[in-house]
């Protein structure tokens, strides 16, 4: 014998009401965000920023705790190693300065201006925290950061400023999944389009006969003096007319602490 399930009917009508209410609220949010772009971000980011800053300070303090338990001998050994490294870095820094000056001189000869100076910003949130693979930095319109500005990690282009607020900004990385970036394969001087795969990884669909090897350098056409990525693997299927080139950024985006924002004229 079958029994009529009244509770199921009541439940389904509740779900219908819930669907109507939530769809209406969602529509309101979308409309508000379209009419007044970033209205919610501008309200919430100033609250989140001090939290993130204090979090990084607390993490720094926690990391410093083991130092109190180290012996004098251990610290002395660490100091000697650090001094040796510093001496090495000082020599390298001098070489880099010379090469940079030479590079600037050559760029001037070629009619290219030296790499412009920009604003250094701390990274508040790395893509690991974001469902959108975005980077949040602590510099905004107050220091001249605006949407479209180029974001560099060292001298490597990492992305562009997507949204800028008073004292923070969101960065869209070139490696964000689904993003397409024009690139230049240095070995063959071939212009191609790279597809972002997230986390600093990229993919290129290239003709099968294009000579590419692991370790080849990838650059951006407009900034071809800076390394954009290094080829990690080449997937080759004899049945296909294309080969898949996989490359990644020379830095680990999750470990980046500061970036340079260069104004986009």
């Amino acid at each position: 014998m079958n029994y009529h399930l009244k509770s199921r009917e009541r439940g389904s009508s509740l779900s219908k009401q819930a669907i109507v209410v939530f769809v209406a609220l969602y529509a309101v949010v979308i409309v508000l965000n379209t009419l007044v772009p970033n209205i919610f971000d501008a309200l919430l980011l100033p609250i989140a920023k001090p939290l993130w800053k204090s979090e990084s300070r607390v993490i720094g303090l926690i990391r410093a705790i083991p130092v109190f338990f180290l012996t004098k001998r251990h610290l002395n050994d660490a100091l000697i190693i650090a001094e040796e490294k510093l001496a090495l870095y000082e020599t390298t820094e001098k070489n880099i300065s010379l090469l940079r000056a030479e590079n600037d001189a050559l760029r001037e000869l070629l009619g290219r201006t030296p790499i412009p100076k920009g604003v250094v910003a701390s990274v508040l949130r790395t893509p690991a925290f974001s469902p959108y693979d975005s980077l949040i930095i602590d510099a905004g319109t107050k220091v001249g950061v605006k949407a479209g500005d180029l974001v560099l990690v060292g001298e490597t282009p990492a992305g562009v400023v997507a949204e800028s607020f008073a004292s923070s900004a969101k960065v869209k990385l070139y490696s964000t999944s689904g993003e397409r970036t024009p690139i230049l394969l240095s070995a063959s001087s071939t212009h191609m389009e790279a597809l972002g795969r997230g986390g600093g990884n990229f993919e290129i669909a290239a003709p099968r006969d294009l000579p590419v090897e692991k370790g080849d350098i990838v650059t951006l056409p407009e900034l071809h003096t800076a390394v954009f990525g290094v080829v990690e693997d080449v997937l080759f299927d004899p049945a296909r007319a294309f080969q898949t080139i996989l490359f990644r950024s020379p830095f680990n985006i999750s470990e980046v602490r500061t970036v340079l924002i260069v104004s986009n004229p």
């Binding site: 509770s7 199921r8 439940g11 389904s12 509740l14 779900s15 819930a18 669907i19 939530f22 769809v23 969602y26 949010v29 979308i30 965000n33 919610f40 971000d41 309200l43 919430l44 980011l45 989140a48 939290l51 993130w52 979090e55 949130r125 690991a128 925290f129 974001s130 469902p131 959108y132 693979d133 975005s134 949040i136 997507a162 949204e163 969101k170 869209k172 964000t176 999944s177 689904g178 993003e179 397409r180």
Partner: protein
């Protein structure tokens, strides 16, 4: 009473997670709360906050900036019928 205590604890963890944890961990905790607390509407609010904090228009989501909120709304609506059909909740 037990349910309200659980709700308060879940809210503290989930809303702290919005600002401090990776997004997937916060969302996972919210989903766990959704299946353990009646009418856990906070999952939608937490997802909305995650969207506001981190969203940028990207090609992967066709430029939409409130994808996680939409997923949370669907999860909230679907959780009702799922709970009714699971023997665990009877």
């Amino acid at each position: 009473m037990r349910n309200s205590k659980l709700r308060i604890i879940a809210n503290i963890v989930v809303f702290a997670g919005v600002f401090l944890f990776p997004w997937w961990l916060t969302f996972l905790l919210a989903v766990v709360a959704l299946f353990n607390i009646e009418w856990y509407i906070e999952i939608i609010i937490a997802s909305f906050l995650l969207d506001v904090l981190y969203s940028i228009p990207i090609n992967l989501y066709w430029g939409h900036e409130f994808v996680l909120t939409l997923v949370a709304i669907i999860a909230f609506i679907v959780s009702g019928p799922i709970k009714r059909r699971l023997i665990f909740y009877t």
